[in-house]
């Protein structure tokens, strides 16, 4: 369904481009022009938004997956509810990774003069690169955390149910959960390292 919609949109876009090109109106669909005219600020903003947004979605998936199961399993085995809060905390950590990345990105965001950039190509390149890096870092952290939250949630929900059935299993499943949680950490680390390359502002 999604793929069809996206494919359809791309197809329409290409068709318009082709008809313009062949109809003698020149290359109106110009990707280079498109990319050059997107401001690095937009990229930064998008990066921050993706990082925090996807992470929070991941965290919430994790929390409801786990939470629903803890509630249900806790009806017959009330002892599980305290122990299994740790799964909720793992999910919550995913959201915190996202917020760390977006905060780092926000501290790196600096103003730069557009006119100065037009004259100084190196400075322009640097600022554009920073923009893309932030988008990339945001995507890295965001997607990693989304998937991580999902994984932690699924494992956490299993852990809650397994704990209710047999208390011995809890510690073992906790290990699995820690590994799932590590996925988000990978994203965080890569995003942080990416962010260290960011250099924005008027200085070259």
């Amino acid at each position: 369904m999604w793929m069809k919609t996206i494919g359809g949109l791309v197809g329409v876009y290409l068709l318009i481009g082709l008809s313009d090109m062949l109809g003698g109106r020149g290359p109106t669909v110009d990707i280079v022009w498109l990319l050059e005219n997107i401001s690095p600020y937009a990229m930064c903003g998008l990066g921050v938004a993706l990082s925090i947004g996807l992470s929070v979605v991941g965290a919430s998936i994790g929390i409801y997956l786990t939470g629903a199961s803890i509630m249900g399993a806790g009806v017959k085995e009330p002892r599980i509810r305290n122990k299994n809060l740790i799964s909720i905390i793992f999910s919550e950590a995913v959201g915190i990774y996202g917020i760390i990345v977006s905060l780092i990105m926000l501290t790196n965001l600096e103003m730069f003069g557009l006119e100065a950039a037009e004259q100084n190509f190196a400075m322009k390149a640097q600022n554009y690169m920073s923009g893309y890096i932030m988008l990339g870092a945001g995507l890295t952290a965001g997607i990693a955390n989304l998937v991580c939250g999902w994984a932690v949630g699924a494992v956490g929900s299993g852990a809650a149910i397994a704990d209710a059935a047999n208390p011995v299993l809890f510690v073992r499943l906790l290990v699995v959960e820690i590994f799932a949680s590590a996925i988000g950490l990978f994203g965080l680390i890569v995003a942080v390292i990416l962010n260290s390359k960011v250099k924005m502002g008027n200085i070259v």
């Binding site: 997956l65 629903a68 803890i70 249900g72 399993a73 806790g74 009806v75 017959k76 299993g158 209710a164």
Partner: protein, 345 residues
């Protein structure tokens, strides 16, 4: 993907159902129960289980009937609790579970009204899982055509009646047991198709469980109809066409003349190898054993609707087991307890 959103609606219920499952009686409990000398002992042994609140000490004189009533009420309460909290598509699935019992009830009501018994009395004796709000209205009917209308309008079973084209005239002339089988066939086929429509793990698990149910019916019907006056065409129309035996073996099953032929056909399937090892008398016990195992196994997957079907199958079996134990105790044949009860882990 489907797994992710399962918990939004059904995570809570899944947790509850799994809780119920882990409190099912296990091998050690059954061993304890079969040591009981009297029903009072049985009651005390059950105090350590989920049934403690059901069998409180205020029952003056516990007999099998009372026990059965209480256990059944407990089961229905649990079912209703789950159903009240459920949302689609689980609600439909639970409705399907009820329809099975409803068929029994409606058939009984039909039979009773045709022979002129008061409906209120019959309604009281219906299986509580198969109750539906308009049950009383069936009894207002005075002749078979009114009865037919009443059944079509007031029961949720109308689609099954329609599908297997039971018409007014047929209601009069067909044997009630045959009508029940025809209805059940169309019910279980519709249930199977619905579960396949749900896709994912649910489809996979429910397919196996319902296939077993279909095959069980096919086998028992062809076995029990040996030596009765049922014609081959009617027989074939009674066998549910969704199981492992479908489509190649059903016409053959309808044609068999003795048990040996049935054995040859059924043993040919890998799923049912060795099912006749203890003779055909124990076929049903073996099938119950198999079903119990499959139901328990269905809990190995998470995020699917099959466990809701499985838990109520298991619960019903458990109630039946407990009543069996109680019967054995009251009839002083404790050594026979073990023979019927399936093995639990």
């Amino acid at each position: 993907m489907g797994d992710t959103f399962f918990n939004i609606q059904h995570g809570y219920l899944e947790g509850i159902v799994r809780g119920i499952k882990s409190h099912l009686l296990g091998a050690s409990e059954y061993a304890n129960l079969s040591q009981c000398e009297t029903l009072e002992d049985l009651r005390l042994s059950l105090q350590a289980t989920d049934y403690a609140p059901v069998l409180t000490a205020d029952i003056g004189n516990l007999d099998v009937r009372e026990l059965e009533d209480r256990l059944r009420t407990h089961l229905v309460d649990e079912f209703n609790e789950v159903k009240r909290n459920s949302s689609e598509p689980l609600t439909t699935l639970l409705n399907y579970i009820q329809h099975g019992h409803m068929i029994d009830n409606v058939v009984m009501l039909l039979l009773g009204t045709l022979s002129g018994k008061p409906v209120a009395e019959l309604v009281a004796k219906c299986h509580p899982l198969g109750r539906f709000p308009n049950m009383g209205t069936i009894g207002i009917a005075t002749n078979s055509s009114e009865l037919y209308e009443a059944v079509l309008i007031d029961t949720p079973l109308a689609p099954y009646f329609k599908e297997c084209s039971i018409t007014e005239e047929k209601l009069d002339e067909l044997n009630i047991e045959v009508i029940r089988c025809v209805l059940y066939k169309s019910y279980i086929e519709s249930f199977y198709d619905y579960c396949q429509g749900l896709g994912d793990t649910t489809a996979e698990i429910m397919a196996e469980l319902l296939k077993l149910e279909c095959d069980r019916r096919a086998m028992t019907i062809s076995l029990n109809s040996l030596g009765t006056g049922l014609s081959k065409d009617i027989k074939e129309s009674l066998l549910p066409a969704r199981g492992h035996l479908h489509p190649y073996y059903l016409p053959e099953l309808a044609k068999i003349d003795d048990v040996e032929q049935l054995k040859t056909i059924v043993e040919g399937l890998p799923e049912y190898k060795g099912i006749f090892d203890d003779g055909e008398e124990n076929l049903e016990d073996k099938l119950i054993q198999k079903e119990v195992h499959m139901c328990i196994d269905s809990f190995l997957h998470q995020f699917h609707y099959g466990i809701f079907y499985a838990i109520f199958k298991l619960k019903q079996q458990e109630v039946t087991n407990l009543i069996w134990i109680a019967e054995c105790i009251t009839q002083k044949s404790r050594h026979k307890i073990e023979t019927c009860i399936p093995h639990y882990p």
